[in-house]
């Protein structure tokens, strides 16, 4: 439980990560300790190379720290096998990427359905839930379009729908608006905010865009692999 009274979804304790780049060792994260509570709408802010993406990857079980602990809903994930991590991601974590990363051979609805397919949700329920969530992100009638037939903003909305459709404990978004123009970016952030308010979806997203930071209710500044400021915004 956090001091704010929120249940802890993700907890990073003394997380350190160093990358080898030839003869050079680059410290991406250094003793990072922070917690994300249920229903938060938090931004990891910082310049390129500050360690935002590395921290998101650690929270999502996509990468392992050199030292420290990461707990997702109380489960220690630094010691999990690849299969256990896959199961954790499948059931508890949603992802949104800067470059949308939709599966090109699937339609918008099928992309949204995909995670539920992996979860073993029956086909009729998958279809129904996928359409409902696509409607909620403003993509009515575009269910059967393939990614190549959608604009960047529409693709990213499909990605958000895909990330939240299976009711994950947390959605991790790595610079979700970086490839969008400011108007489209605002539209996407409004949708994310709406999902956060109405469905209590926990969002953590990385950004270096001041406008995007303005939407976050909690702003975690990262520089040189360290958290140097963590503030709650009004």
């Amino acid at each position: 439980m956090l001091r704010s009274g929120k249940v802890k979804i993700v907890e990073c304790i003394e997380v350190t990560k160093t990358y080898d780049q030839g003869n050079l060792q680059v410290k991406a994260l250094e003793n990072v300790t922070l917690s994300i509570g249920k229903g938060e709408f938090a931004a990891l802010a910082g310049p390129s190379g500050s360690g935002k993406t590395t921290l998101l990857n650690m929270m999502g079980g996509l990468d392992r720290p050199d030292s420290g602990q990461i707990l997702v809903e109380g489960q220690e994930c630094t010691t999990m096998s690849q299969s256990e991590l896959a199961r954790l991601r499948l059931n508890k974590i949603g992802f949104v990427f800067q470059s949308y990363n939709l599966i090109p051979v699937l339609t918008a609805a099928e992309n949204v359905e995909f995670v539920m397919l992996l979860q073993g949700v029956p086909a009729s329920e998958r279809r129904q839930r996928a359409k409902k969530i696509l409607d909620e992100v403003g993509l009515e009638g575009l269910y059967d379009r393939r990614p190549a037939q959608l604009s960047g903003g529409q693709q990213q909305r499909v990605a958000v729908a895909r990330a939240i459709v299976a009711n994950p404990a947390i959605v991790l978004a790595d610079e979700p608006t970086a490839n969008l123009d400011s108007k489209t970016a605002k539209g996407l952030l409004e949708i994310m905010l709406k999902m956060n308010r109405e469905k209590q979806v926990t969002f953590v997203f990385s950004t270096h865009d001041e406008m995007v930071m303005g939407y976050a209710r909690r702003l975690i500044h990262i520089r040189d692999g360290k958290v140097y400021n963590d503030v709650v915004q009004g």
């Binding site: 991601r89 992802f95 359905e113 397919l117 992996l118």
Partner: protein, 408 residues
């Protein structure tokens, strides 16, 4: 949307590449099935010729006749033998009693070594090729005492024709050289020219008279209703006949060269399948690997969503499986069409008669698709196709999500 549907769409991401690999599998399967059936047709034709050319499925001789086919090694108790045959042989079996000895045929200008075959015209026609092989003149009848039927090639070699005389000379039972003149009443055509030159047919009675054999014979040729029964029937005959007076040989013992060739063929066809497959395998591995390398980022993404590495491996294998099944189906369809097309007319190799004769092959080859060859060809492609696809599939499943997502 299911995994198979996803695999199907992934296959058609790059239609040109998919069509190329499908063509490779199609041609490979076609060549395995169709050319395999042709090769099998050659061996089946050779066995058929071998059995029809006076061999039969089983032969009974006096012990040692097979190695030394001289008149001394003859069967004397024909009545006992025929009674035993009537009891032991399965229903619908056919057999013919023969006198077969080496002889010299001669006319005014030519002479050559031949095999004199004394036959009962009616029963012989039901056992060997001769009944349906008459091209000119007529076949023998029981009353023909001085008639002879020879091969067309012998007619040509001896520069003679129907109605002319041919003198046969051989050793009689008392060790004397005897000769008798016969009038050529018919000529036969055989699959192999050597058969036409080697065998001359007279009635059994006239052969026995000429060789002073009385009722004795030299061999019995037996055709069984089911060729797979030869060993069982052979055992039954050996049990029923006194071993000191008879030997019973199967067609595989009578035609050792052909038997060795058949064994060689079975090994050859496996090697042939593997050679075709190896060529095909390079295409399969290359294409699948390209498809995997193009989608590294996507495989990372699937893992990010929670797809376990084992299922990613499975997904790539499903794509290979679908490609293989389509290619195999198309290859089989084409091969079956070719086999059906050639089924009635056969492949006529008369233009290469000398060559095919040398190899002991028929002049016309009929493709013969046998179930075990067909199953083997398809299994080789499907199973080994999936095995070689395991490498790219394994590679796809081994990418770590972070590395894969960073892949440009």
């Amino acid at each position: 949307m299911q995994y198979i549907q996803l695999a199907w769409r992934n296959i058609w991401r790059n239609p040109r590449r998919t069509i190329v690999i499908l063509l490779a599998v199609l041609i490979g399967v076609w060549s395995m099935v169709f050319l395999g059936a042709l090769m099998r047709g050659i061996t089946v034709g050779m066995v058929k010729n071998g059995i029809a050319t006076l061999t039969g499925h089983l032969q009974i001789h006096y012990p040692g006749f097979h190695d030394d086919p001289s008149i001394e090694n003859r069967i004397t108790n024909v009545v006992q033998l025929t009674e035993t045959l009537s009891h032991v042989l399965p229903d619908k079996s056919r057999w013919a009693l023969r006198v077969r000895v080496p002889a010299v045929a001669a006319n005014a200008r030519h002479s050559a070594g031949v095999t004199l075959v004394g036959v009962d015209p009616v029963t012989e026609a039901r056992v060997s090729f001769i009944g349906g092989a008459i091209k000119m003149g007529k076949y023998l009848s029981d009353e023909d005492d001085h008639s002879i039927v020879v091969g067309e090639a012998l007619l040509k070699t001896f520069n003679t024709k129907l109605g002319h005389k041919l003198v046969l000379m051989s050793q009689s039972v008392d060790g004397e050289m005897v000769s008798r003149a016969f009038r050529i009443v018919g000529s036969f055509r055989a699959e192999l020219m050597s058969t036409e030159k080697q065998y001359v047919f007279v009635t059994r009675r006239s052969a026995q008279k000429m060789l002073k054999l009385r009722k004795d014979i030299t061999e019995v040729s037996i055709l069984l209703p089911d060729v797979n029964d030869v060993h069982r029937v052979r055992e039954a005959l050996l049990n029923a006949l006194p071993n000191s007076e008879y030997e019973v040989l199967t067609w595989t013992e009578l035609l050792p060269l052909l038997t060795a060739y058949l064994k060689l063929y079975d090994q050859f066809i496996l090697i042939w399948y593997l050679v075709v497959f190896v060529a095909m395998a390079f295409g399969i591995v290359n294409t699948t690997l390209m498809a995997v390398l193009e989608r590294i980022r996507e495989f990372g993404l699937l893992q990010v969503f929670g797809m376990r590495p084992f299922f990613i491996l499975g997904e790539v294998l499903v794509e290979s499986f679908i490609l293989l099944i389509i290619g195999i189906a198309a290859g089989n369809a084409l091969a079956l069409a070719c086999i059906f097309g050639l089924g009635k007319s056969g492949l006529d190799l008369s233009a290469f008669a000398a060559g095919v004769e040398f190899a002991g092959m028929s002049r016309i080859i009929y493709p013969d698709l046998q179930l075990q060859d067909w199953v083997m060809a398809n299994l080789v492609v499907l199973v080994l196709g999936l095995v070689v696809s395991c490498y790219p599939a394994f590679k796809a499943s081994r990418y770590r999500p972070v590395e894969a997502l960073a892949y440009a």
